[in-house]
Each structure stands twice: as structure tokens, then as C-alpha cells.
């Protein structure tokens, strides 16, 4: 039986010591995962800085906690010390109203740019009584933002509307080289963590699943693990192995689609169709287990909901056998294509230093030769008991990232087979019921297909959580992506985006700014 993940190690410090403490930890080799604030009421706004030590296995998780006054919430920015805190601090500025002093770029990232106007009663059609949000266009369009800049729009590259998602990427281009890039997010902001505080723990599981359609198993599993840590219960063996099986199947289907998308982005659409064909086998076996193809609802607090019977395992095994034949064949076809491999070689090189500086996780970090994998660093579910290894590539370019994904699919097939054998003979107990949930905090990390996912859940003894804070793997990786786009050629941008495989969900809008004179190609927006 695998060990529990390490709990949080909280250190309280004064607000003016944050800078020195953060740099002390970073010098010890820590990586800042996230920073977030919670309005704690009387003591003030609580600000947590999450750290982990990647070199230590199992890795230690550390939180620096500080309180700032609610009336005057001012805190010194740590972004000048580490860029890993950049977006986290912008989030604090937006959602909590914390004034982060000396932040280099304190603009809106998630909320609409005319957000203040929407809520203020000075709006001509403002409805102060019901406090419903007014979405009609405002009298004062926002200045100095991503929309009002002088734009020349180019219908950009072959991309699939369903796959590259909700970002508004703006690039300043000089000849063929991208000089500057900026990103506006929030087209998909659904206030999930706010809703989680209002619903009970079992409903929150479904909400967590609906954060992302690609990695819904990881989301519900991480949330369940955090709650299990608070309740201090042990999950049955069969549930642990089923979770591992689901997680690995999810990794396979996400990676195969990402690889197919890379084919699509290099003008090789047949490969996308092959990828969709191969995915169907995985979706079929997931449907047999849970009854749903995409969002499963099978994971619950303390175990799993449905039994996975030996009959299911037989079907899944036959599907895995088909996959073992079709997946290597697919990869060989892709690697035999000179256009595909030549396009990716030496494109978007991410050096180890830059990856560490921005705190890259997942296949992006492993493509640069950094051994970061939460399945190894702080094992969860059954990953300690099955035979597998972390996959790294040392070439650091887009091709290395694709190769990491390819090899991980094959490794996942290997893990799935082992899980099937164990589930078949495991004791039939599925769930350890959660009878009582004491006050406390739970912290859990997992490795979805795209990197590191963390959940921080606090219970106050009632049936709803006190707060939930989560950080998705795309968060640090997109920060890396912007850095990769700067200085690359404009034709390489779709490949770089595809190799990072961001997961914002939403329609994609790529606009190209040509500084100086505007060349109209494709019409003004």
C-alpha cells in the first residue's frame, strides 16, 4: 500500500519579511509553485506562498504564510526576485484587491478590462438593487489594453478551433521575428473556486471535473486526495489501482491528441485523424468502466463509485492489446515523415536555466532534461507499487517535447497493463466512507498529462469547504510559452504553442501587431 502524500508545512512570517524569506528558500533549491490569498476575516487577508523541493524525493512542501491588513492590503512584490510569482500576484491584485507594491506588470489578466465599470453604479444602466452584472457596452472603452491597440489581423496558421483555446495572443512583429508577445486570459473564467465554497464536498467533485475536459480524472482525484488527507482515511487497494488506471488512460488520450495536433499544425492533417481513431479505443474502455466517455464521475471521497469487474478488465485488456499494436505504428509513421521532424528540430529551444527560472512542469520541463514528475516526487495512488520510470529527453526543442509525450504513452500502456492485473485479483472493497470531516487543511499534488496540479482545501467542520485553492499545470507553462515565442520566427509560433500544449479551453484568437505601419492582410478587427 502506498504512503500518503506529505502534508503542508506552514511557517508564519511577518508581511515585511516575505522578500528575504522567499529568496532564502529559492537559494536552497525550492521552486515557488503558487501564491494565493484568502480573505480570513478578522486576522486580515492571508497570503500563502507555496514552495516545493524538487530535488528531494519524496519532496517537501512548504508554505510561507503572512497576514495583511484588510483596510490597507499592501504587500511587497516578490516578482522582481522570481518570475514564478508573476501571474499569481496579478491574480491576487484582481480577485482580492491586494495592492502588490513594485509589481512590474500589474494589469488585468483574467477579468474583463472594463470590469470596474460593469459593477459600478455610475453605469447608465447600472442595476444596484439586484447587483446583477451589467454587460452592456460601457461609455468609456478601456484605454491602454490589449484590445485598443492598433492591430492588423492575420488569420493565423492552420489551427483547429477545438484545440488551441481561450487565449488572446498579441505579437509585435518585425519582419519575420516576433519581438514582443502579450497574452490576455479569462475568456473561460467561470468562478469555479467561488462556487466550490458554496457547495458541499460531494458536489464539488463534479465541479472539479468540469474545470477541464482533458484532465478531469486528475482534478477530481486531487480534490478527493486533499479531502482524504483532512479526514485521515485510507483508500482501499482496488480504488487506488483504478484511479491509477484512469489517470494513465487520460494521459494516453491527451498525449495522443496533442501529438496528432502537432501533425495538424505542420500541415499533416491525416495524423490528426489517425490520432482520433486511436483515441476511440481508450474512450471505449473508459466508457465501459465509468459509463461516460469524457467526464467520468467515478472518483469520490474515499474511493471509487463503480465497481470494475473482471469482465470489464477483459474488455480493457483486449483494447490495450490493440493499442499496443496501433500506437507504435502511428508513431513510426509520424517519425518517418521528414517534414514533421524537420519542422520541429531546433525549434523553440528551452534551456534548462530558463525552464527552472519560470518553474516549468510536466513534459515541457522533461523535454529539457529536468527530472520533475509528481508521480515520482511525491507518489500518490498506486504509483509507488507499479513498475515505471520518469521519461526525459535532452534535446530541449519542440521535437524533444513531442518525443517525451510519445514515450510516455508507451510507458502508460505498460502501467495500465499492470493495473489491470492487480484490479482483477484485488479485494472487492471499493470505498472507505468519510464519516466525519474535522477542521483542518489538506494539500495534494498530482501529475495530469500537462504537468503538476495542486489543490489546497481547508475544512471548517461544516459540509462546505472553507476555501479551495488550485493551480493548474498550464499556469507556469504558458509563462514559458510566451518567453519561447519572443524571438522566434512567426512561422514557428503555432508549433511552439502546440508543443507546450496549453489547456485554457475556449476559441482561439491570434492577432499579429506590426509595429509602425499597418499592413492590411486579412482585414482590420
Amino acid at each position: 500500500m502506498s504512503k500518503r502524500q506529505a502534508a503542508l508545512d506552514v511557517t508564519e512570517i511577518k508581511a515585511d519579511e516575505v522578500g528575504t524569506e522567499v529568496s532564502k528558500l529559492l537559494n536552497q533549491g525550492a521552486r515557488m509553485m503558487y501564491a494565493s490569498g484568502v480573505d480570513a476575516g478578522v486576522p486580515g487577508i492571508r497570503i500563502d506562498y507555496y514552495f516545493t523541493f524538487d530535488e528531494e524525493i519524496p519532496s517537501r512542501n512548504l508554505v510561507l504564510r503572512t497576514y495583511v491588513n484588510r483596510k490597507r492590503p499592501i504587500i511587497e512584490s516578490v516578482t522582481p526576485i522570481t518570475t514564478q510569482a508573476d501571474w499569481a500576484e496579478r491574480e491576487m491584485i484582481e480577485f482580492l484587491g491586494v495592492q502588490v507594491k513594485n509589481h512590474p506588470d500589474p494589469r488585468h489578466l483574467w477579468l474583463p478590462l472594463n470590469w470596474e465599470d460593469m459593477y459600478s453604479s455610475t453605469h447608465p444602466k447600472g442595476d444596484t438593487e439586484s447587483e446583477r452584472i451589467n454587460t452592456s457596452p460601457t461609455a468609456h472603452p478601456p484605454h491602454d489594453n490589449i484590445f485598443s491597440k492598433h492591430l492588423s489581423v492575420v488569420p493565423y496558421g492552420p489551427y483547429h478551433p477545438a484545440l488551441i483555446e481561450s487565449n488572446y495572443l498579441k505579437m509585435s512583429v518585425e519582419d519575420e521575428v516576433v519581438r514582443d508577445a502579450d497574452l490576455k486570459l479569462g475568456f473561460n473564467h467561470r468562478s469555479v473556486i467561488k462556487l466550490m465554497e458554496r457547495r458541499d464536498y460531494y458536489k464539488d467533485l463534479f465541479l472539479a471535473e468540469r474545470i477541464c475536459g482533458f484532465c478531469n480524472v486528475s482534478h477530481s482525484m486531487t480534490f478527493a486526495q486533499a479531502v482524504e488527507q483532512i479526514a485521515d482515511i485510507t483508500v482501499p487497494k482496488k480504488a487506488l489501482y483504478t484511479r491509477t488506471l484512469l489517470g494513465e488512460m487520460e494521459r494516453m488520450k491527451s498525449h495522443i491528441l496533442a501529438i496528432g495536433l502537432m501533425g495538424d499544425l505542420t500541415g499533416f492533417r491525416t495524423m490528426l485523424m489517425h490520432a482520433i481513431r486511436i483515441r476511440e479505443e481508450i474512450l471505449d474502455s473508459l466508457e465501459i468502466m465509468s459509463g461516460q466517455r469524457i467526464s467520468h464521475g467515478i472518483i469520490t471521497h474515499g474511493g471509487i463509485r463503480n465497481d470494475v469487474t473482471p469482465v470489464h478488465i477483459d474488455v480493457i485488456k483486449s483494447k490495450l492489446k490493440n493499442l499496443k499494436k496501433s500506437v507504435p505504428e502511428y508513431f513510426d509513421q509520424l517519425l518517418a515523415n521528414d517534414v514533421f521532424t524537420g519542422r520541429l528540430h531546433k525549434t523553440g529551444v528551452l534551456t534548462v536555466d530558463v525552464a527552472k527560472k519560470f518553474g516549468a512542469v510536466g513534459p515541457i520541463a522533461r523535454g529539457s532534461g529536468i527530472r520533475v514528475d509528481i508521480r515520482k516526487n511525491s507518489p500518490y495512488a498506486a504509483y509507488e507499487d507499479v513498475d515505471w520510470d520518469v521519461i526525459t529527453e535532452n534535446d530541449r526543442d519542440c521535437f524533444a517535447r513531442v518525443k517525451v509525450r510519445m514515450r510516455e504513452v508507451l510507458m502508460s500502456l505498460h502501467i495500465c497493463e499492470q493495473c489491470c492485473d492487480v484490479i482483477r485479483s484485488a479485494p472487492s472493497e471499493l470505498i472507505t466512507p468519510v464519516n466525519e470531516l474535522p477542521c483542518g487543511e489538506g494539500f495534494s499534488r498530482t501529475e495530469p498529462p500537462r504537468g503538476e496540479l495542486l489543490y489546497h482545501v481547508a475544512s471548517n467542520g461544516t459540509n462546505t469547504p472553507e476555501f479551495v485553492r488550485l493551480r493548474v499545470p498550464t499556469y507556469p507553462n504558458v509563462r514559458v510559452m510566451i518567453d519561447l515565442i519572443k524571438g522566434s520566427e512567426i512561422g514557428d509560433v503555432p508549433v511552439i504553442i502546440g508543443s507546450v500544449d496549453p489547456c485554457f479551453s475556449c476559441a482561439d484568437r491570434v492577432t499579429v501587431v506590426n509595429q509602425g505601419k499597418v499592413t492590411v492582410s486579412g482585414g482590420r478587427r
Binding site: 452584472i133 478551433p161 477545438a162 483555446e165 458554496r198 468540469r210 475536459g213 467526464s295 479551453s505
Partner: protein, 139 residues
């Protein structure tokens, strides 16, 4: 003057407008245009611009940020046009319906007129095929 819908019955083009949501519906749309379900054999094509689309396939609960873009996409689509709202979020708001949800402007029908709804979270590709065929028969 508008085109008669009779021409469109043969080969309607679909534009997929992602208005928030979790990607689950988008994966299923992709699967329904993939080799197994293959909507293209019915003459239906996924296009990348609303300007030459006949059917708008809208997924997601429409966050505030996306609302003006969705309205603009609807205006850009030439008539006759049909709107298909897809998924639990597109039909009713799904799990995101709440009094204190500050960032959702929709369901889709609050913003643009909807002709066909495909419920499910996410709907299976078979349901998507049927929903789009229903919209096609309305032309």
C-alpha cells in the same frame, strides 16, 4: 433578399464557437468529425470562420468576457442561419448556475436565439450528429 435554405440542406457548414466551458464538448465535436462518426460523409464541414458558416455550434456557459464575442460571431454569420446550443452548459448553464456566480452571462439562449439544444455533459457523438441533422432539416 435571402438565400433559400433549400440549397443549404445539401452541405451546411458548421462553425464551432467555444464560449467558455471545459473542453469536453469540444473533444466530442472533434470525435464526431473524426474517422468513426464522420459527419463529413453527410456533407457537413467544420469551418474556421463564421462568415461562411450556416450553423453555429455553441458550447459552454458563456462567461462575461466571451459574451461580446459571441454576439459578434452571431452577427457575422450570414442568414439563413441556425444556432445549436450544445452540452448541459450551453442548454441551461449546467453546474455553473448559481446566484453568486459573478462571471457567467449565459446560457446561450439568453444572448442569441437558439434553434436546437443537445443536452448531455458532454453529449455523445451520436447525439451531436442527430442534433446537427435536426438543424439541417429546419432550413
Amino acid at each position: 433578399m435571402s438565400l433559400s435554405g433549400a440549397f443549404l440542406k445539401k452541405s451546411p457548414w458548421v462553425y464551432h464557437a467555444h464560449a467558455g466551458g471545459c473542453n469536453g464538448c469540444d473533444l466530442e465535436i472533434l470525435a464526431s468529425f473524426g474517422p468513426r462518426y464522420d459527419l463529413e460523409r453527410l456533407g457537413i464541414k467544420l469551418v474556421a470562420s463564421p462568415r461562411f458558416a450556416d450553423i453555429l455550434l455553441v458550447t459552454g456557459p458563456v462567461p462575461l468576457h466571451t459574451k461580446p464575442f459571441l454576439e459578434r460571431i452571431y452577427d457575422q454569420t450570414p442568414s439563413p442561419k441556425k444556432v445549436v446550443a450544445m452540452g448541459a452548459c450551453g442548454c441551461s448553464g449546467g453546474v455553473f448556475v448559481d446566484d453568486e456566480n459573478y462571471s457567467i452571462a449565459g446560457p446561450v439562449e439568453k444572448i442569441i436565439p437558439v434553434d436546437v439544444r443537445i443536452p448531455g455533459c458532454p453529449p455523445k457523438p451520436e447525439a451531436i450528429v442527430e442534433g446537427i441533422m435536426k438543424a439541417v432539416r429546419m432550413f
